[in-house]
């Protein structure tokens, strides 16, 4: 898991993904797996952000719907979604996203903190922004995204 701040001169690798059209990134060292569309079992009475649980090679992974988590409109029913599996305090979580794209090496020089005008829910759950050619990549803060107890 990467705890390093992307402030060094070296390049950092990010798994890029899209959620509701927005390009986002997660440090590649924090990603355990990328899964294609999976059967997700619903968990009754769970918070809305929790999409359910899935079986990853015998381990139970809690799936978090990133759209719900970031206050985005729900996905069209029937769309195939992918998930990025990360680990926090020994537990596995799957972040449900629209699409997972390639792994990118990004230079620290292109990084800057979030603009202050970002909506609170975005500002809270991201570490900063990379300026890419033609588009921006938001670096998500996985630990905060999974901290549902605080959000609830």
């Amino acid at each position: 898991m990467s705890t390093q701040e992307p402030m060094t001169d070296t390049e950092q690798q990010y798994v890029t993904l899209t959620v509701a059209g927005q390009l986002c990134g997660i440090p590649v060292l924090g990603v355990r797996d990328v899964l294609a569309d999976q059967t997700i079992a619903r968990i009754p009475l769970a918070p809305g952000e929790v999409a359910g649980s899935l079986n990853l090679r015998g381990r139970i992974v809690t799936a978090i719907d990133l759209r719900r988590r970031l206050d985005l409109p729900p996905a069209e029913p029937g769309t195939r979604r992918m998930s990025v599996v990360t680990e926090l305090a020994g537990e596995l979580y799957a972040l449900l996203v629209d699409q997972v794209a390639e792994v990118m090496s990004l230079p620290a020089s292109a990084f800057e903190p979030c603009p202050p005008t970002l909506p609170a829910v975005w500002a809270e759950h991201s570490r900063g922004v990379f300026r890419l050619e033609g588009r921006l990549l938001v670096v998500l803060d996985v630990a905060r995204l999974l901290d549902l107890a605080v959000a609830a």
């Binding site: 009475l45 918070p47 649980s53 015998g58 139970i60 305090a89």
Partner: protein
């Protein structure tokens, strides 16, 4: 921390635990020289190792302690309680230093001058001072207790010295830091070691792997089921067996004797006894009973808490005990044993019992229930209020307990691991808590159910039965009824509160139409609760996995699991569901939820009897009943095996012909199977053919209307319906013309006098005894029996009821034994109560035997015994002459 130090800590902690036990023993049995030298050797070892490792502070304390012990060993000092306290204080100091050493890797700074001076003075023969905890900033004995408990279980549980050697596994391996360092057991020669130390996390990892293996195996089996004649079938079966064996083996490595959770208790109790100025005897039974170490860890604290409670609240002071006529020394008994897939732990004291009045007052004061509600509650229900949060009856908050964090925490902790806790308390006689917990938490057998389109697992241990809700007709079973939208079900004459799983879990999918729902009757402590589910699948062995932390607040689930088909499902927690619906919460208002009759109420209504209900004849005929104790077996006899012999029906049973009598007079030729109630006597049997056997209920058997036709005793209200009770005597006579005169009666049957006030019992006993070859005379009261004596009647034995108006059975027995013609006759007591105390009372009154009502075989046995005894033989001879 280097390996040497880690090893030292493990060993020292083990030795300290052993020392605690041994020192408490020293105090009670000062003359046990072997024990004393054992203590000395242990302290000496600690001191020696400290010197070797360069731990001066530890070494000095240990050395001073060793001096005192050495003087004791030489007989120069007597181990008085004060002296033992002093040595224990030295041990506490060592413990606290060791704990710091474990946490930081270095000896903490501190001053032990006063303690060492006191120890030295004691060694020189001076009386030890009262308090030595003054120095050593912050780590006197009082603080030590706290430190020691705050640490992540610095217990290296050593078996009590008397524990038998365990085979090849040494389950007590539990080093404080599960460092993988494996060291041979110190006292075994190299190469000869039968046990090795294995880190707990290695075992845990193994368990996880085995769990995964079990899951994968289940998955494979599921796949194989769909393919017939696959080449994989045989190897797969083998894999399956090996996996099961492996699972069992790994489970075994995790098993530890419960004594490991108890080894701190003698010290705790001893300290408490000193602090509270009480005399307490701690008895531990079944310490070798094994359970999973995970469970063991979880119950350790609740157990300690409960023992503290018993010592503090339960037991009285010596003066109070003397005044109450009890021995001054109170007793706390811990008892552990296996029962089914559970381990039962009882914590009993012989103290004052739970004060119902004080609890009631407190319940009122805290507004937990109203006066009217309380008035309707039994003592046992009121006592259960102690499990409510924030409830403590201790008038004074002592240092020991009474701080309001109490039994509710214990209850919650026990329920968290799928256990239950019950209590039984009698004023003046003491309190017994009974804890029932599963042996292991890792793999459980679960019932898979479906509700609202989702599947769930319900642990088998909490499933009492499955009931299919019907349409309310006699065949379909009872239907779900509603009281203001709250569903309930009539189950065996009680109302079962129901919870719709679909509504509870807010599952929006509609019910799977068509099939009537099934009700999973779940046992939650003493209460019963029905879960309405749409479908019930199979049972499956599941591996319980904890739910993710973000879901912990959903108390309805105890975990989740992966099924054989790979899908993830939630495991329902009946305890949590009961709490969420308000049923389990102290259970004050939900008295109606008790379906299983609790033991304490059966004592009051001695006439509760197990009654078999069945049907025969027309569809609108009333149900029929017979006391279950009179029925030997229930059989389903296939149509083709019912044979006609002359006019009668019979079937071959164990090489003999068993006469069959259709209750309705004829056999329905359309039925493939015919249910039969079988009555036996010695080697003869007869079958009574009925249409359907419907249920077994517990109820009073009071025949209120006389019989309208032969074969019936009369009508009684059973399970809320008018029910005809059959006369077994009549049917026995019909089956065997000579049943009343079996070959044993050649010399003239022994004559029995049966004293019984209840018409029903008389009507039942007389034919039953007659069928067994006795000649029976019945008397409806003791006075009537005595009148028979005066009239000069002769009998071989007397059977008498105990509870009778005017003159009871005890009085009758005393009157008979006091003199007269019948003073030597065998007397058999017949009673609805069959506890040891009742039995003793009956024997004291002059009865030869004491038999429970309705236990026909026991009664016949008792009669045979007394009649073959000296008095009986004489009586029989007289009779013949």
């Amino acid at each position: 921390m280097d390996d040497l130090l880690a090893e030292f800590l493990t060993e020292t902690n083990e030795m300290l635990a052993e020392l605690d036990v041994a020192l408490v023993r020293l105090e009670t049995v000062p003359e046990d020289a072997q024990n004393l030298s054992g203590i000395f050797r242990l302290v000496h070892t600690i001191k020696g190792t400290c010197g070797f490792l360069g731990l001066p502070r530890l070494e000095k304390v240990a050395h001073a302690g060793e001096n005192v012990l050495s003087r004791m060993r030489d007989g120069a000092l007597r181990p008085t309680p004060a002296l033992v306290s002093l040595v224990l204080a030295a041990l506490d100091r060592i413990k606290s230093i060791v704990a710091d050493l474990g946490a930081t890797g270095a000896e903490p700074a501190g001053e032990d001058g006063a303690l060492i001076a006191a120890l030295d003075a004691a060694a020189d023969g001076d009386a030890p001072p009262g308090d030595v905890s003054g120095d050593g900033p912050g780590d006197g004995p009082a603080a030590t207790e706290g430190t020691a408990e705050a640490l992540p279980t610095p217990v290296a549980p050593a078996p009590p010295p008397a524990a038998p050697p365990l085979g090849t596994t040494r389950p007590e391996a539990g080093p404080p830091k599960p460092a993988l360092a494996s060291a041979p057991v110190p006292d075994s020669a190299p190469g000869a070691a039968q046990t090795i130390r294995v880190g707990v996390d290695v075992l845990d990892d193994l368990m996880t792997l085995v769990s995964e293996l079990v899951l994968t195996r289940n998955q494979l089996l599921q796949l194989a089921r769909t393919q017939e004649n696959s080449a994989f079938t045989v190897p797969l079966q083998r894999l399956s067996h090996i996996t099961s064996d492996l699972q069992e083996g790994v489970m075994k490595t995790r098993m530890q004797p419960i004594g490991n959770a108890w080894n701190k208790l003698p010290r705790v109790v001893r300290d408490l006894a000193h602090e509270l100025d009480k005399r307490i005897d701690l008895v531990m039974l079944g310490a070798e009973t094994e359970l999973d170490r995970q469970v063991l860890e979880l119950i350790k604290d609740p157990l300690t808490h409960m023992v503290r409670n018993s010592a503090d609240h339960g037991l009285e002071s010596p003066a109070e005990r003397r005044a109450a006529g009890k021995p001054e020394t109170g007793r706390i008994t811990l008892n552990a044993f296996h029962e089914g897939g559970h381990i039962i732990i009882e914590i009993a004291d012989d103290g004052r019992g739970l004060p119902v009045d004080r609890i009631r007052a407190k319940v009122l004061a805290q507004g937990l229930a109203s006066e009217t509600e309380l008035a309707g509650m039994s003592d046992a229900q009121i006592q259960r209020f102690i499990f409510r949060a924030g409830f403590s009856t201790a008038a004074a908050v002592t240092a020991v307990s009474g701080r309001g964090v109490g039994m509710d925490v214990v209850k919650t902790n026990i329920e968290r691991i799928g256990g239950t806790i019950e209590l039984a308390s009698r004023a003046g006689a003491g309190t017994t808590f009974t804890i029932k917990i599963p042996l292991t938490l890792a793999i459980v057998s679960a019932l898979i159910v479906e509700a609202g389109g989702e599947r769930f697992a319900v642990p088998q241990t909490s499933v009492a039965e499955l009931v299919r809700a019907g349409d309310g007709s006699a065949e379909g079973g009872s239907r779900i009824e509603r009281i203001n939208d709250t569903p309930v079900l009539r189950l065996r004459d009680r109302l079962l509160p129901l919870v719709s799983l679909r509504e509870l879990l807010r599952l929006d999918a509609p019910a799977a139409g068509g099939d009537p729902p099934t009700i999973v009757v779940a046992q939650v402590g003493p209460t019963t609760l029905g879960l309405i589910v749409d479908r019930v699948f199979d049972t499956e062995e599941i591996v319980v996995k904890p739910v993710a932390p973000i879901l912990r607040h959903v108390t309805m689930f105890s975990g989740n699991t992966i099924l054989g088909d790979g899908s993830v499902i939630m495991i329902l927690d009946p305890n949590g569901i009961a709490r969420a619906t308000g049923i389990g919460a102290g259970e004050g208002r939900e008295g109606a939820a008790r379906i299983a009759a609790p033991a304490e109420t059966t004592g009051h209504s001695a006439a509760m009897t197990s009654i078999l209900l069945f049907r025969a004849g027309a569809a609108d005929a009333p149900p029929l009943a017979v006391p279950l104790a009179l029925v030997a077996r229930l059989e389903e006899i296939p149509r083709e095996r019912i044979e006609r012999c002359g006019d009668a029906l019979a079937t071959q049973y164990r090489g003999r012909l068993m006469p069959l009598l259709p209750l309705t007079g004829e056999v329905d030729p359309a039925r493939a199977q015919q249910p039969a109630l079988v009555f036996t006597d010695g080697d003869r049997s007869m079958g009574l053919l009925v249409d359907a056997i419907t249920d077994v209920v517990e109820d009073r058997l009071e025949v209120e209307l006389g019989a309208a036709r032969p074969g019936l005793l009369g009508t009684a209200v059973i399970a809320g319906r008018a029910t005809d009770v059959i006369d077994t005597g009549y049917w026995l006579t019909r089956a065997f013309g000579d049943w009343f005169r079996p070959e044993a009666a050649k010399l003239g049957p022994p004559r029995i006098l049966c004293v019984e006030d209840s018409d029903f019992f008389r009507a039942l006993l007389v034919p039953a005894l007659a069928a067994a070859g006795f000649e029976v005379t019945a008397a409806a009261s003791a006075a009537e029996a005595l009148a028979l004596r005066e009239a000069g009647a002769g009998f071989s034995a007397i059977i008498s009821d105990i509870e009778m108006p005017d003159m009871n059975g005890f009085e009758l027995a005393r009157a008979l034994r006091a003199g007269g013609a019948w003073s030597a006759l065998p007397l058999v007591a017949l009673s609805g109560r069959s506890t040891e105390a009742d039995r003793a009372r009956a024997l004291e009154a002059g009865f030869n035997e004491h038999v429970a009502k309705f236990d026909r075989d026991a009664l016949l046995d008792a009669l045979r015994r007394v009649l073959s005894g000296p008095g009986g033989a004489d009586a029989a001879r007289e009779l013949v002459a």
